[in-house]
């Protein structure tokens, strides 16, 4: 079966979710473009968008339409050639409209998993629940005569367990998109010893066509991305808990969040990142990973407590940020949660005294937005971090310790065999988390 034939009938499980809808968008556009190739003209292409939520599926069109439109507008030079055989389509606007209509017509929104019984390729983006994934894979595989390939978007469940549990004989691999899939350039590719080589080759071609940067990861719970993020987040939580012995908890949260953003030159502080991922998702992934880590305890009482109080973070359907550790207005943090009082404290009421405790930031400081655009980024970062190391302020000490811990986590991913190289770890953090520098560095030595 050729690449094009494999993509003629595809199903996406969990298609209306945050990740599933992004995978759906990228895949349907790839299928549409294949359908426009002269040799594919007239062949049917179908993508089953499968989700348990009828309501969420109904909302998919609102998401897909504008997104496909944006994609079409960026490849107009190619589209004019692709629709060369349509004399009725003359202006760019007419061709773009037709392309959007054609693309959306490939998508079939369904709630029943039976729709996947005719597919050659199944993308899975359901909850991080191993048993659920195995159940779905088994059911589809037993009823699908084409021996389909299963690409799972899991960010934490080992692939070999899914292979074994659903008895797939190597027809499964991990294709882990980053959030949001339509924007993030990174994809982690996880194969097992028994993954079919042709499935891996297909996955690499697919990633290339989607212009994704592929980083291979060994089949170990959490892989590289969550392998770093979960430990990094847990360290941040522990630091906040440690500081809270001397100050109100919300002030400790504020300080650790500020240090991880401003002092470590990251796009957002660690608690804002947890909110972005979702407190519920972070807790769940830790729970999935923890049994596979005999010498670690990847668990946080604080996350459990937040969940018990119903503070979950994550995003609303329109993509806006829900409140979590931080409170947001128009996407910007304006308050911070006080777990003792179970209410948000406005940042302005505590930022002054907290900033004073952290001490002055060295004048060589650069912010993340500036840093990522600098040609001499490493030189500027080295100068700033050198000044941090030579500073006695609380903020500098917290930052240097944090930088070292991040480095240690990154190195451990390599030495424990999760990542194949230091470069792969850094690529994941640079590309998938938009960091200005990789965690494995010499800045904090």
């Amino acid at each position: 079966m050729t690449y094009d034939e494999r993509l003629q009938n595809v199903s996406i499980l969990g298609a209306a979710g945050k990740m599933g809808s992004g995978i759906l968008l990228l895949t349907v556009v790839e299928m549409m473009d294949l359908s426009l190739k002269p040799e594919n003209k007239g062949k049917p292409f179908a993508l089953n968008a499968i989700d348990i939520s009828q309501e969420a599926l109904a909302g998919l069109k609102d998401y897909l339409g504008p997104q496909v439109l944006k994609i079409a507008e960026k490849k107009m030079v190619w589209l004019r050639k692709a629709y060369d055989d349509r004399p009725d389509l003359i202006e760019n606007s007419e061709i773009i409209d037709q392309y959007v209509r054609d693309t959306l017509s490939i998508v079939r929104r369904v709630t029943r998993v039976e729709a996947a019984y005719d597919s050659h390729l199944i993308f899975e983006a359901v909850n991080e629940n191993k048993d659920l994934k195995i159940k779905l894979f088994s059911q589809i595989d037993q009823n699908n005569p084409y021996k389909p390939w299963f690409f799972t978007n899991t960010s934490s469940v080992p692939i070999h367990l899914l292979d074994k549990g659903a008895n797939l004989g190597g027809r499964v691999l991990g294709f882990h998109f980053y959030n949001p899939p339509a924007v993030q350039k990174l994809a982690e590719l996880i194969v097992t010893d028994s993954t079919l080589p042709e499935a891996k080759a297909f996955a690499l071609d697919y990633a290339k066509n989607l212009k994704k940067v592929v980083v291979p990861s060994n089949d170990f719970a959490g892989f590289i991305g969550n392998g770093h993020f979960m430990r990094d987040a847990l360290y941040g939580i522990h630091e906040a808990e440690r500081l809270s012995a001397e100050m109100p908890f919300c002030e400790a949260l504020y300080m650790v969040n500020k240090v991880t953003q401003d002092y470590l030159v990251r796009p957002m502080g660690i608690f804002q990142l947890i909110d972005y991922v979702g407190i519920d998702v972070t807790q769940f992934i830790m729970k999935v990973m923890n049994p596979f880590l005999p010498d670690e305890d990847l668990h946080s009482d604080l996350l459990d407590k937040m969940m018990e109080m119903g503070v979950r973070g994550g995003q609303f359907a329109d993509g806006s940020q829900k409140n979590g550790f931080l409170q947001y207005e128009k996407g910007k943090p304006v308050g911070i949660f006080d777990p003792e009082k179970k209410e948000y404290v406005t940042l302005v009421t505590i930022s002054g005294k907290c900033d004073e405790k952290l001490g002055p930031v060295p004048s060589s400081a650069i912010n993340w937005k500036t840093a990522v655009k600098l040609r001499n980024k490493d030189e500027k970062l080295a100068a700033f971090f050198h000044d941090l190391k030579n500073s006695d302020t609380l903020g500098a000490k917290l930052a240097v310790s944090y930088g070292r811990k991040s480095n240690e986590i990154g190195c451990k991913l390599v030495t424990s065999g999760v990542a194949f190289s230091e470069e792969d770890v850094n690529t994941v953090l640079l590309t998938g988390f938009f960091h200005a520098y990789g965690p494995i560095n010499t800045f904090f030595e």
Binding site: E73, M76, V77, W78, L79, R80, I90, E91, N92, S93
Partner: protein, 415 residues
């Protein structure tokens, strides 16, 4: 020299800011002024210099595609909006693609010559940032023959001039040509930095030619033979100028030395349904320039400065050859040697031209006239060049479509 039945002057020019990407005020995500704002600002800018609307006999407005960019036709009706005093006066709208502005100038010149008006308020306007560039390309493609659109490029006019550039590269050498085109871009931006209303006024790139040459040609995302720096940007803007007789100058209280005299012109039209006879030559411009020089009784050696239609850098190169400053195939060398820079043999586009100042399509012809008026009367500010006494003439070349509608006007300082 062709003897005119009466003298025709221009004075009291005004340009709005050339608004679009590159200007710090421009934010495509925020609401922006509509076309009427630009018409009003430019028109009032001229009225203030001529003693107000009562001195005006007629109005003329040049515009290309407001009907699609702004969903607005019937632009002559906006002239009385400029000032209550213009209500019920005769007004005309002209359209000739990117030469619409110069056609408005010609309408004004003819009215004065016909003695039906002593003072004509002339405006040129286009507001194009209402749509994304990819849809703007559809609208601007209306300057070509609609039957060519289907097989044309996504970016139709960049595609047309990319074909011209490709033919030029094949005939005379790509490296040589692009060296001249890179210098053209540098001149455009350097001149624009001297003009506060220019779209590239705030451009801060240090080594412009190096910047130009770093941007490689990529036919997969744009056209084969041009990069985006070879192209004028999408611009919103308007310009206005008064066209007057002797009596009109007196009525408005304008001293002659603050006006320019129109001493010659030519207007030429090529069959839009036919391909250009030679892609490496702007044939219509060549003919119109020769006619305009003849009508003025001068040669190119009498010109102090020229505003020409560099919608694309290759159009600049071909225009230099059409003017006769360089032989075919040597225009790029002439430019690369600095001869068209503001301190060169023939300073061209001294406030940036279409690539540097901006290209509000239907407004460009009027903007060119305003720039020549400023230069010849010595009020161009930081952009002022020296006008040699033995070469007192200025020229504007306004082109619509791919060398289809061309208006060339020759000026000298009055008085």
């Amino acid at each position: 020299m062709q003897q005119l039945r009466r003298k025709v002057y221009m004075a009291a020019g005004y340009n709005t800011i050339a608004m679009g990407t590159g200007r710090s005020e421009f934010n495509p995500k925020k609401p922006r002024p509509g076309i009427e704002h630009y018409i009003r600002e430019a028109g009032q800018g001229t009225l203030r210099q001529i003693g107000g609307a009562p001195h005006v006999d007629e109005g003329a407005i040049g515009n290309f595609m407001a009907s699609r960019f702004n969903k607005q036709g019937h632009l002559a009706g906006f002239i009385p909006m400029i000032d209550e005093g213009l209500q019920f006066k005769p007004c005309t709208r002209t359209e000739g693609a990117c030469a619409s502005g110069a056609l408005a100038l010609m309408a004004g010149i003819r009215s004065v010559l016909a003695e039906t008006a002593e003072v004509v308020l002339t405006v040129g306007v286009e507001v194009q940032n209402t749509v994304k560039a990819i849809y703007g390309a559809d609208i601007l493609a209306g300057a070509g023959w609609y039957q060519k659109r289907k097989n044309g490029h996504a970016y139709f006019f960049p595609g047309q001039f990319s074909d011209r550039a490709g033919a030029y590269y094949a005939k005379y050498g790509q490296e040589r040509a692009r060296k001249g085109m890179g210098r053209w871009f540098r001149n455009a931006v350097e001149n624009a930095r001297l003009c506060p209303t220019a779209q590239e006024y705030e451009n801060k790139v240090e080594d412009l030619e190096a910047f130009y040459h770093r941007m490689k040609l990529n036919g997969e995302t744009f056209v084969d033979n041009l990069n985006v720096l070879d192209c004028s940007k999408v611009t919103d803007g308007a310009s206005a100028i008064a066209i007057l007789s002797e009596e009109g100058l007196q009525r408005c209280g304008i001293p002659k030395d603050q006006a320019v005299e129109v001493v010659g012109w030519a207007q030429a039209e090529r069959n839009i349904t036919q391909d250009p006879p030679d892609l490496t030559e702007l044939t219509t411009i060549k003919k119109a320039v020769a006619q305009a020089l003849e009508s003025a009784g001068i040669t190119i050696n009498d010109l102090a400065t020229i505003e020409l239609h560099d919608c694309f850098s290759i159009a600049g190169v071909l225009s230099v050859e059409a003017l006769g400053f360089a032989s075919p195939g040597e225009g790029a060398d002439f430019i690369a040697a600095g001869h068209t820079a503001r301190d060169g043999k023939i300073p061209i586009n001294t406030t940036g031209g279409l690539i540097g100042w901006g290209h509000p399509t239907g407004g460009t012809g009027v903007h060119q006239a305003v720039t020549i008026w400023e230069q010849l009367t010595g009020i161009a500010g930081a952009a002022q060049i020296e006008i040699p006494k033995d070469r007192p003439y200025g020229m504007t070349i306004n082109m619509g479509g791919d060398d289809v509608t061309v208006v060339v006007i020759v000026y000298r300082r009055a008085g």
